[in-house]
Amino acid sequence: MSSIVSKLAFALTVTLAAAALRALPARAGDGGTVVIATTQAPRHFNGAVQSGLATALPSTQIFASPLRYDDNWNPKPYLAESWQTAPDGLSITLKLVKNAVFHDGHPVTSEDVAFSIMAIKANHPFQSMLAAVEKVDTPDPYTAVIRLSYPHPALLLAMSPALMPILPKHIYGDGQDLKSHPANLKPVGSGPFRLTDYKQGEYYTLEKFDRFFIPGRPRLDKIVVRIISDPNAALVSLERGDVNVLPFVTGVRDIDRLEKTPNVYVTSKGFAGIGALNWLAFNTRKKPLDDVRVRQAIGFAANRDFIINKLMGGKATAATGPIAPGSPLAEPDVEAYKFDLARAEQLLDAAGYPKKPDGSRLSLTIDYIPGADEQQRNIAEYLRSQLKRAGINLEVRAAADFPTWAQRISTYDFDMTMDTVFNWGDPVIGVDRTYLSSNIRKGIIWSNTQQYSNPKVDELLAAAARETSPEKRKALYSEFQKIVVSDAPIFYINATPYYNAFSKGLSGLPTTIWGLMSPLDELYWETPPKT
């Protein structure tokens, strides 16, 4: 009898071992460690209640989300193996994979999805992202039906890893405030890596989660993220090979230097999702900038090409409208404000600012965000001399730090300011806030601080937010972009030149629209580094 039992046990062991091998095929290049450097220390690791790059990098490794995106804005299955939008656009049904488990072994079910979506709606700083969600039904453990009060096409992008981490309800649903929940520093997710070590302000370690639901992934054993506060030290560390990934490099000289470094690969792919725009914003309720002709004149006098080709060494892409050039919704056919000094002078004459005998017409101030010199201060300084040619005297106002600048701009104590603003994928999440007249909210930075108001624009944005036909939606946004560019509450300069740098030998690089703010489960060492 016992020999039969032992034979059965042996057979079972062999079968299980074979199944395990099938599930996790070992490939050349699997294993190893990648070191990422970042200048920003995360406040915590829970992307459900905290946006921004510092948290998104670890959060997207630790937590999985319903969908993920490829390089061309196409949604791909992740925790949801399929998804279906109802014909009336008022619900989306997600069918979840059945083999996903959290790092503590609990299965991921529709209850967790429902809990997370409602938690994000209540706590995430981007309130417009899930505003349409009424509730989430859970007819069975692997089906979640998101009920909407009105059609909300932005929801599909909002299901990305950076914006919709699925939290374990059995841990976060204990009634404690999610923003200060102790598990935010000891997170349990279902993503490819789990947090194993964190030394505040110094580093954190993410180790491969062996029961990750996608077979054979992640390919790396470990990711160490080092917080290196000085960008120069981070750069040198990458050159030396102490660090393998350097995200969000934006200095033109740094990019140049890294491109010439033999053991480093540099790419600007991976930033289409955040859609960072660098622009000059006007206080449209303050004289003389309340006159659209003055704003347009500044656009014609500024010379965007010079800024991009000379000041930024050709490393940036031109931006001509409110939707970043990498987005499928961007409308290229808008007034480009090509450099035309004569036209600028005509507009200023027409607006009632003739040239005085000393050559000047009017005086304005310009602010900029401190700390990002190449994208902000240098352009402000350049504009001071450039706009003088059109008779505009500019006074450049420095701010000691970000809060000082934010205070000035959000309380409308400015004429013009340089600014960098993110699209965050869908216009509903990151574009509308700058233009809706209902979002003129004093004291709130990156609201409609230009105080721009156009009922037609409000109408178009409201309609586009609910339009389920992609073609009609694109047409609505196209009209919106033409109007806004013509009204010129903002002079668009460039897409902020973000680059990621990698040690050569790494493959499966994160070049999707969310780049390093998405799971690094495909990253691996094709040629391991020499030790």
Binding site: R43, G201, Y203, D230, S237, D242
Partner: protein, 326 residues
């Protein structure tokens, strides 16, 4: 005056000064434009008015400044320095994590600068017009004139890129962590560049100070007497002259403890040294009032403690102070 009474009086003065430090810093920090809610909105890529309002209520920023100050002081009186706005952790815990790193850096820099500075000063004072003395003078002037951040960046490039023999960031190897003696050696290697950067400015100051005082001491009557007695030169210099030279150096070292902390802010930021200096810099940018106030408070405590210790060491070196002689 007896020593105990002296220490008690010093401590009482220190307590009054600490209260002033708290109140002044509180007012100064709240006078700066912007608040933590705006910083968080900035870092999150924007936030709704409701989120911003909730943050301001959470941190008590919706109360008047006087109310906020009174609440803060009453909490500090019970030993509660509050929670960091940014990390949502008790501030005292944050500081406790960071303090050892700063002490390693500051004390090693102090030791390096006093030892090397004094040695250079003493040696160059023996032949004030000699080549070595001239070289020390030039190097001292250069070291004194160079800003710490510049020196730091140059050393970083030199030993990190051109001749990559030393680690340029962090306090230890976090990829393959070490333990025991190997860990101590690893930390010491990581400490070389930050500590040398911070020490360079002070080496210049101490070498100048030691040189001038040694030249004076060597010309003094008691040195001539010592030489006349036939004492060996190393006793004349090492025992008689050096002891008098050390008095101003110890005084200056105590006074400069505060400056070392200030220098540590820059050095820790350049070399990502995980100490309090970096935390103070980041807390200013984040308007993390509780963290910033607590760090400034504890820094003031440390500087005062350093001054009291200096006073005591001063008494040990100079018998005239001990006996109350003029």
């Amino acid at each position: 005056m007896n020593l105990v009474a002296h220490v008690i009086r010093q401590a009482a003065n220190a307590a009054g000064l600490l209260l002033a430090v708290l109140v002044l810093n509180f007012c100064l920090i709240h006078l700066t434009p912007g608040d933590p809610a705006q910083v968080m909105a900035g870092e999150m890529g924007g936030a709704s008015p409701e989120v911003m309002a909730a943050l301001r209520v959470k941190y008590g920023l919706d109360h008047s400044l006087a109310e906020q100050l009174l609440t803060y002081l009453s909490k500090v009186a019970t030993g509660d320095f509050g929670y960091s706005y940014y990390f949502n952790e008790p501030v005292v815990g944050l500081i406790a994590q960071r303090l050892p790193a700063t002490l390693y850096l500051v004390l090693s820099a102090l030791l390096l600068s006093v030892l090397i500075g004094t040695l250079l000063g003493v040696v160059s004072a023996r032949r004030p017009n000699g080549l070595f003395s001239q070289a020390v003078t030039v190097l001292s002037l250069a070291g004194y004139a160079a800003p710490i951040f510049w020196t730091g960046l140059m050393l970083l490039l030199l030993f990190g890129s051109v001749w990559p023999v030393l680690p340029v960031s962090g306090m230890a190897d976090v990829v393959t962590p070490k333990t025991g003696l190997a860990y101590a050696i690893d930390v010491a290697r990581h400490l070389v560049l930050p500590s040398s950067t911070l020490a360079l400015v002070f080496i210049a100051q101490y070498s100048r100070l030691a040189r001038v005082n040694m030249i004076d001491a060597l010309a003094a009557d008691y040195v001539r007497t010592a030489r006349a007695k036939g004492l060996p030169e190393y006793v004349v210099v090492g025992k008689h002259a050096l002891r008098n030279t050390l008095i101003p150096i110890v005084t200056v070292a105590g006074l400069q403890f505060g400056q070392l902390f200030a220098g540590a802010v820059l050095v820790e930021t350049i070399f990502s040294w995980p100490g309090m200096g970096r935390l103070v810099f980041e807390s200013i940018l984040r308007r993390d009032y509780p963290t910033l106030l607590a760090i400034l408070f504890f820094s003031a405590v440390l500087v005062m403690a350093a001054n009291i210790v200096t006073d005591l060491v001063y008494r040990l070196i100079d018998p005239r102070i001990r006996s109350g002689a003029p």
